[in-house]
């Protein structure tokens, strides 16, 4: 009986590890493929078309950095990185300037109608680029911002502001009211109390909002595709898939670019994901 129970336990553990391994392989395989492609000689990448015995899973020739060198020297990759950083930084600043006061007001000052309005603002996050890129193309044309990074700087806050307002509202709510009320009893106005007491406590919330604004900007492909046409003004998300594909056999450089762009952001993402989920599920999960 005891041995049987132990056996059942062992089988359960084994099944658990097999399942965990299977999920990991499923999630990671494309990144493995990206990596091995980025470091392979061209010959090693393409010989499989004619040589049947060639094994694509491993390095048949020593790894090479030639795709990275090509990417940095002969493509506009660095310009795309710079454009992404410039647009991302501008959007983060605009978002924080607008979403911090709004999130605080919804959390503390507006009561019941504020709650409704907060939900309303969050719902605008659900209006997708797909519905808006056509009217935006008209708006951007009227503003004369076609093929300009300004178009992206103006448009991206339309999804970062709703999301961050909602995120920060939840964050400010979790800070005890007593703290700023104490400062107000001590004679500070509400605004100074917020500046001196609440904001320093909210640093991690502000960082989270800044990080997600930046990643949402990096994630966008649709607006960049709609507004930006010259290669030098593209962001990474647009430039890598669209402008790197001049030559059909350019997979090495393409995967090299995808790798060095996506892996850093994916790693940092893990530090913030729980707050992101807490923001999205606020209301559905009682924490």
């Amino acid at each position: 009986m005891r041995a049987r129970r132990r056996l059942v336990h062992a089988v359960k553990r084994a099944a658990l590890y097999v399942a965990a391994l299977a999920f990991t392989v499923l999630a990671v395989f494309p990144f493995y493929w990206m990596t091995i492609t980025a470091f392979k000689e061209d010959n090693d990448l393409y010989i499989g078309a004619t040589v049947r015995t060639h094994i694509p899973w491993i390095f048949n020739e020593p790894p090479t950095l030639e795709h990275f060198q090509y990417l940095l020297r002969e493509t506009a990759y660095l310009a795309w990185v710079r454009n992404t950083v410039v647009v991302g930084a501008a959007v983060v600043v605009i978002t924080l300037l607008l979403a911090v006061p709004a999130g605080y007001a919804l959390a503390r000052l507006t009561g019941r109608w504020g709650e409704r309005l907060g939900i309303g603002i969050f719902l605008t996050y659900l209006i997708p680029p797909t519905l808006l890129f056509i009217p935006f193309s008209r708006v951007i044309a009227v503003l004369g911002l076609q093929n300009s990074l300004w178009a992206l700087i103006v448009v991206y806050p339309t999804f970062t502001i709703p999301f961050c307002t909602w995120l920060l509202m939840g964050f400010f709510r979790s800070i005890p009211r007593d703290i700023e009320e104490q400062a107000m009893i001590d004679g500070y106005s509400r605004l100074s109390a917020v500046r001196l007491v609440v904001l320093p406590l909210a640093v991690s919330g502000l960082l989270t909002a800044a990080f997600f604004s930046f990643t949402l900007v990096m994630q966008d492909f649709v607006y960049a595709l709609t507004f930006i046409s010259s290669v030098g003004k593209m962001t990474v998300s647009l430039g890598i898939p669209v402008a790197l594909f001049r030559d059909v056999f350019n997979w090495g450089a393409m995967m090299a670019a995808a790798l060095i762009t996506s892996v850093p952001i994916a790693i940092v993402y893990n530090l913030f994901i729980d707050r992101f989920i807490a923001g999205l599920t606020a209301g559905a999960v009682k924490g």
Binding site: A20, A99, L131, A284
Partner: protein, 314 residues
């Protein structure tokens, strides 16, 4: 947020008499002032374009000019009798439903695995999130290379393992191409749904689950009578976001197949882009994209009901 132990907020007291009350001390006024900039931004750049989207769909607007002439429901009549549009509508539906069903199956399994403590769990969770964290256009390019018609590693492996001797032209055959698109959506969305479900599961009070175990409820009974009903709100959130992100996605289809082969894999967003932006017929593009609106309205209504429920209950 809890303050760290021992943390104290020290602000020097200040004499109350020195400061005169200003308008900013009236809470309702201050609240409105702080809200106004964000609110205006959203009204100006989401509200107005949204209305414009509807107006454009009734106009003969083209890109390149700023003209705006009313054509009534002409675009809607055109596209409804357009076989390409109907196929596109069907594709959008298939992609969304098929990928969400698969996502929820995978995510429920993964969340149940990740809930148990085991060695290496943190690493697994971190790796599992990669597909969701990576910019979608880059992930799609990696998939395009994996599904390449000459060099597909999947084909090579199937053949090497002796499972399938033929050669699958992943992106060259309409049905297989649709399968490829669904695979990418599932791969990308299931980590996101897993994390949402995990958050929901950890929020179920442990006593409830322990009680059901002690009372001798079987695994399935616990699943259907205890865990799932308690998880329903969070499952709903995961499905709603999944539906919105999948049904409106343009990047995957545009980069993987461009709607091909023979325009057989278009979805509403990629067809709207092709006709509205590339073809320059803004009016028709807007009309096509507008067919996503019913989905979004339904999602918004369910979200509102969820929010109200917790407002009352919590």
């Amino acid at each position: 947020m809890a303050l760290p132990d021992g943390a104290q907020v020290v602000v020097p007291p200040r004499a109350p008499a020195l400061r005169r009350a200003t308008l900013a001390d009236r809470e309702d006024v201050l609240g409105r002032l702080l809200l106004a900039p964000a609110f205006l931004y959203v009204i100006l750049l989401v509200g107005i374009p949204f209305v414009l989207a509807i107006m454009l769909s009734f106009s003969g607007a083209r890109s390149g000019t700023l003209s705006f002439d009313w054509v009534g429901a002409r675009h809607f009549r055109t596209i409804i009798s357009d076989a390409q549009f109907l196929l596109t509508l069907r594709n959008t539906l298939i992609f969304t439903v098929a990928s969400q069903v698969l996502v929820m199956i995978l995510a429920t399994t993964a969340a149940n695995v990740l809930e148990v403590a085991f060695f290496g769990k943190r690493a697994v969770r971190m790796l599992l999130l990669l597909p969701w964290a990576v910019p979608v256009s880059l992930a799609t390019m990696a998939s395009a290379w994996i599904f390449d018609s000459t060099f597909s590693v999947i084909n090579w492996t199937l053949r090497a393992l002796g499972l399938f001797q033929g050669w699958i032209y992943w992106l060259g055959d309409p049905e297989v191409a649709m399968l490829a698109i669904i695979i990418i959506h599932v791969w990308r969305m299931f980590p996101f749904a897993t994390v949402i479900l995990l958050a929901g599961m950890t929020a179920i009070p442990l006593e409830i689950r322990e009680a059901s175990v002690i009372d001798g409820a079987s695994f399935w009974r616990r699943l259907f009578h205890v865990n799932l009903p308690l998880l329903l709100p969070v499952v709903t959130v995961a499905v709603l976001f999944g539906v919105v992100f999948t049904s409106t996605d343009l990047s995957v289809v545009y980069l993987l197949t461009r709607g091909g082969p023979y325009n057989s894999t278009h979805v509403l967003s990629s067809l709207a882009f092709q006709r509205g932006i590339l073809g320059g017929d803004l009016g028709q593009g807007a009309a096509i994209a507008l067919f996503l609106l019913p989905v979004l309205v339904v999602v918004a209504i369910i979200m509102l009901r969820l929010a109200r429920r917790t407002e009352v209950g919590g």
